[in-house]
């Protein structure tokens, strides 16, 4: 691999043994994946933050980095952590778990993490063509597919190391030639104008597209330009759940879509997604029984989403036996707080929770048995990672409507 003088200097250990090792990891991974040089990055986004996932080994590693005195060289954000101090019907998590999760957070803040969210694009929106080292699949897909920035779908430790050296390997989705679509996906008619135009349907559509695309970057026709931000996020999170993709080119939305004309697209393998496929999936995961908990915010909600949700809640007060968690980042919550809206949610019995991810939280330990959500991604992971027994899908507006009309 070609290295600049400064990179050679870091590799030779002039800035310490740990940084040399950090750069060696990036160089080696790059070499195996066919990169021939490194590229400076403007933003690192670190995954592997929940103590439930990384365990003592991850905690030790992150603390070692912090205690070595190493700090992020570029703007750095991190994924959300596991819920800690939240009570659920009187249950709370063991003290040891909370203490260790707090140690991970403290070390990451010391290193330079500026926010804990899975939607770092609301903290600092990447520009077109910018090089990043991001982990977290939905964020990677958003950065590449919506912003036109460049990042691979990196692993947790690699992004942490990239933040310390301010570089990553120039390979994969950093390169023009590896960003070309290889499959054409046609959504049978514009979803807009049908009854399939909500965040649940788009999450499922994304999930199905990820499944049929495999490792081929898809070019998607049929997603309306004016899709809501909430639905777009759920769509990309769905793609990331069922595939290893880091980029999907959406006609009318992705900056790169205009590079490909019909002549090019007609040469690609073509797959149709029928509305019935979406309906069938939703039907299979319909909520039939009342849940203990409703979760929205996988990925984290934006300010506008929360304002829209507040409208759906109107003046209703929710039944006491169901918890509603709306998840976002501190940045968004503080904005709501200063405009007086957090109080509005509180008054209606709805919790706005920040910086956490329920999917990577030990919800089973909290006694949560049945969860309803509007996220296809959360549907998948809540049962697998958080060990929740039953998970079902229902859009937020519909859930509130049911609660208010029928009680629970």
């Amino acid at each position: 691999m070609y290295l600049t003088k400064e990179e050679e200097r870091i590799l030779s250990g002039e800035e310490g043994e740990f940084l040399s090792k950090a750069l060696r990891v990036i160089v080696k991974v790059g070499e195996v994946l066919g990169a021939n040089r490194l590229v400076p990055i403007s933003h690192a986004h670190i995954s592997g933050v929940s103590y439930l996932n990384i365990g003592d080994a991850g905690l030790k590693f992150i603390e070692e980095v912090a205690n070595e005195g190493l700090r992020a060289k570029v703007f750095t954000t991190a994924n959300p952590y596991a819920v800690m101090d939240i009570k659920f019907k009187g249950h709370h998590l063991p003290k040891e778990f909370i203490t260790k999760q707090e140690r991970v957070i403290k070390a990451l803040i010391k290193i330079g993490a500026k926010a804990f969210t899975c939607a770092p694009y609301y903290v600092r929106r990447p520009r077109k063509g910018e090089h990043l080292a991001w982990a977290e699949s939905n964020a990677v897909l958003y950065a590449n597919s919506v912003c036109g920035a460049r990042t691979n779908r990196e692993g947790g430790p690699l992004t942490l190391l990239a933040s310390l050296v301010g570089r990553t390997y120039f390979g994969g989705l950093h390169k023009d030639e590896l960003r070309k679509p290889r499959k054409l996906i046609i959504v049978d008619k514009e979803l807009k104008g049908t009854d399939i135009n909500d965040e649940v349907s788009y999450g499922v559509l994304g999930y199905l597209i990820g499944e049929v695309s495999g490792t081929d970057i898809p070019y998607v026709k049929g997603v309306p330009r004016n899709i809501s931000e909430l639905s777009l996020r759920e769509f990309l999170a769905g793609v990331g759940t069922s595939s290893n993709l880091g980029l999907v080119i959406i006609e009318g939305i992705s900056p790169e879509a205009r590079l490909y004309n019909d002549q090019y697209l007609h040469k690609l393998e073509r797959v149709n997604i029928e509305l019935n496929d979406i309906k069938k999936f939703i039907k299979e995961h319909e909520c039939t029984e009342a849940p203990d908990l409703y979760i929205a915010g996988c990925p984290h909600l934006s300010y506008d989403d929360l304002m829209k949700f507040l409208k759906y809640l109107s003046n209703s007060e929710l039944p006491k036996n169901v918890d509603v968690w709306l998840i976002t980042s501190d940045i968004v919550r503080n904005e709501l707080e200063s405009n007086g809206y957090i109080e509005e949610f509180r008054r209606r019995g709805v919790k706005v929770i920040t910086n956490v991810c329920p999917v990577v939280s030990p919800l089973a330990m909290l006694g949560v048995k049945r969860v309803a959500t509007n996220s296809a991604k959360a549907l998948y992971y809540l049962s697998r990672l958080a060990h929740v027994k039953e998970v079902c899908l229902i859009r937020f507006s519909e859930f509130i409507k049911r609660l208010v009309t029928h009680g629970n």
Partner: protein, 127 residues
């Protein structure tokens, strides 16, 4: 019988010892318990040369390999058909020699191997 394979060295090291061949992709997070050094609930990996076809699943897996070292349960080396970013990252951080390039047929049968020697991109298997 000795069979020689050409491998690619990703993390350097000359190693020799007993081998363990796993016949399926391994999700480091979930399949490998770093604290006790137990793989798939039944194999102790400490001091073995571990043959895994390829990795799968969570990117948190790098921390699991790092954990093996921290809990003093590291294998002598890991040899794969195709190395992935998660395993490479873990092996460099933990200083565990890593090689890849073995044909996938090698991993057909789960088994112990009496003696393995790896040096200068050559992996010698005595079985």
């Amino acid at each position: 019988m000795v069979i020689k394979y050409r491998v690619r060295t990703i993390v350097e090291g000359d190693v020799e010892g007993k081998g363990l061949v796993i016949n399926q992709a391994v999700s480091l997070l979930g399949d490998l318990d770093p604290k006790n050094g137990v793989l798939l609930g039944k194999y102790f990996v400490k001091d073995l040369i571990l043959f895994i076809p390829y990795g799968k699943g969570s990117t948190v897996g790098s921390y699991v390999i790092y954990g093996l070292k921290k809990y003093s349960n590291p294998p002598k080396a890991i040899v794969m058909s195709r190395a992935d970013a998660v395993t490479i990252t873990g092996c460099i951080l933990a200083d565990i020699p890593l090689f890849d390039g073995l044909p996938i047929e090698f991993f057909k049968k789960e088994r112990m191997i009496e003696r393995v020697r790896i040096k200068d991109n050559i992996c010698e298997v005595f079985e």
